[in-house]
């Protein structure tokens, strides 16, 4: 649905050149929610603003729904933009217009008839749960409500793609979740492709299907969210993953690793249905070892459970080794943090 190839953006200013994007390529499939995450200054806003040409790329190609964006004339670009919805961190609603009139705005722009506008706006406000606020002004709304208006407005012209520029960064955690839920809902109901940028891993984990990690204007890692979460390759990615899932060994246990002890300390990581618990109980049953659970952590990325368990396996060395070999066969990721004496 969106295909970006070798996109480079260089800002030329008095202070010299800033390479904001350096040969970025990525592909967003129809109907998916694609997240781009990065720290401040990584180039996220520049990237998403290039998609609808709010920012002119220095080089490269952007294809939205089969249409090359970089070569469009002004009037063609305007028509195309009407089909690309966008929501913003600071909502950017017209303060002089009511909620109703704000949602009607893009329809006025594309020349929709009055009766049709009334019908559409009413439906959209229903969809985002703001039917009772139609006649309020933005200044009378909470942040979450404002973003709902922003979403309704972005959907008004039946877009083929929705761009979200830090759509939840100005909201508190509870409101963030409700907005994310709404976006997921819309994505499912309308089969709408969503491209979103964020600096919060929580946003990615809650609703994205795919994720790209951007740093210094380059995509450093990309893939399905579940893969990137469970096997982050780049250290920046690991930092992001750790903001929501603690894959680190807690300090208490780290101290214990340094102490001498008789058992083996093992970390099991698991994804999906093969949770570790039945495995642990069969260790005890079949290998004549005692198992001590030191630390456990289970999280959910969308519908997939994901977590780790740190166990101490106490028993004869041979038995412990056999137990580890067994664990490896169960499709779990195993790391021996401390071997037995």
């Amino acid at each position: 649905m969106i295909q970006i190839r070798d996109l480079t953006k260089i800002y030329r200013g008095a202070a010299g050149e800033v390479v904001a994007l350096d040969s970025v390529s990525l592909r967003v499939r129809k109907g998916e929610i694609y997240g781009i995450i990065g720290f401040s200054g990584a180039g996220k806003s520049t990237l998403i603003r290039c998609v609808n040409m709010l920012e002119r790329p220095t080089e490269g190609s952007i294809i939205v729904n089969g249409q090359e964006m970089t070569t469009l004339y002004e009037s063609q670009l305007r028509t195309m933009r009407q089909k690309i919805g966008m929501i913003f961190q600071h909502f950017n609603l017209l303060s002089s217009r009511t909620v109703f009139e704000n949602v009607a705005f893009p329809l006025e722009i594309s020349g929709v008839a009055k009766a049709e506008i009334n019908k559409k706006v009413t439906n959209l406000l229903e969809l985002v749960g703001l039917a009772d606020k139609a006649q309020s002004y933005p200044s009378q709304l909470s942040g979450g409500q404002k973003q709902r208006v922003g979403i309704a407005r972005a959907l008004a012209n039946d877009p083929i793609v929705l761009l979200c520029d830090e759509a939840t960064s100005a909201l508190d955690p509870a409101t963030t979740s409700s907005i994310l839920e709404l976006l997921k809902d819309i994505n499912r109901k309308l089969d709408l492709t969503i491209l979103m940028i964020t600096h919060e891993m929580k946003v990615i984990s809650e609703i994205c299907d795919s994720v790209a990690v951007i740093e210094g204007g380059k995509i450093i890692e990309e893939g399905l969210v579940i893969d990137v979460f469970t096997q982050p390759k780049h250290s920046t990615t690991r930092r992001f993953v750790q903001t929501i899932i603690n894959t680190d060994v807690p300090d208490k246990i780290r101290e214990r690793l340094l102490e001498k002890g008789q058992g083996q300390i093992i970390r099991l990581s698991f994804i999906g249905d093969n949770t570790a618990e039945p495995v642990v109980s069969s260790l005890v049953k079949h290998f004549d070892v005692d198992v001590n659970i030191l630390y456990g952590n289970i999280d959910q990325i969308q519908d997939t459970p994901f977590g780790m368990l740190i166990i101490e396996c106490i028993g004869a060395k041979a038995n412990c080794d056999k137990a580890v070999a067994y664990l490896r066969k169960q499709g779990l990721r195993i790391e021996v943090l401390r071997s037995a004496e």
Partner: protein
């Protein structure tokens, strides 16, 4: 040497002069209202062009921006009295005469238009850029952004600007007597200054103060009505 002419009965004096006072008040109001109207007609588009052609704005055109900016600056640096006299030939071209109340409207308009332009420019520049970008992202044209975004969003500020313009023009209009324009200023000069008739002088000042107060209050009222923040 002339004596002070202080009438013992202020009210009888004012009553006999009331036709003059009413006429002068109307002249002032007429000059002001019509000039503000024409000045806005010229100044608002000028202010809009100054904004949208500025660097990084929706219709960047630095050449045009500089040319218009210079014209505005030159006009604004003329003292009104001099502008009024210097514009004589132009005034004759437009209204057919260089004297009288209607003739005063031409220099008043020319003096106020660049003033309006700068005020409108300031107002439009205060409009949240994010809103303009959102409109661009929705595929709005330049004209749609001006008409549906910039002007409505800046409306409270433009109304307050118009209030300032109106009050400034009332101030300018008191010099209209120089080209036979009449008005309250002229009355004050003819009676108060030349005939030492302080009753008339004070009365005209009071009328001017009341007009200014009313305009300012109306301006504040309308601005508040349009302000949805």
């Amino acid at each position: 040497m002339r004596c002070y002419e202080v009438p013992n009965d202020v009210f009888t004096h004012l009553a006999t002069l009331s036709p003059e006072l009413i006429k002068a008040t109307w002249e002032t109001l007429y000059m002001t209202v019509v000039s503000v109207l024409f000045a806005s007609l010229l100044g608002i588009p000028l202010g809009v062009i100054l904004v949208v052609t500025d660097k990084g704005h929706i219709k960047e055109s630095l050449k045009l921006n500089q040319i218009l900016g210079s014209i505005v600056n030159v006009l604004r640096s003329f003292p009104f009295l001099i502008l009024m006299l210097a514009l004589g030939p132009f005034t004759r071209l437009v209204v057919g005469t260089t004297i009288g109340t209607t003739a005063t409207i031409v220099p008043l308009t020319i003096a106020a238009a660049p003033f309006v332009a700068r005020l409108v420019e300031t107002s439009l520049k205060e409009v949240n850029w994010g809103v303009v970008e959102a409109s661009l992202a929705m595929g709005a044209s330049t004209w749609q952004i001006i008409r549906k975004v910039l002007l409505p969003e800046a409306m409270p500020s433009i109304i307050l600007g118009t209030t300032i313009t109106t009050i400034t023009i009332i101030g300018y209009s008191t010099m209209a007597g120089v080209i036979g324009g009449g008005g309250l200023g002229d009355l004050a000069v003819r009676y108060g200054h030349m005939r030492f008739d302080y009753v008339v002088m004070v009365t005209t000042v009071i009328i001017l103060v009341v007009i200014v107060q009313v305009i300012q209050s109306l301006g504040n009222l309308f601005a508040a009505k349009f302000n949805k923040n």
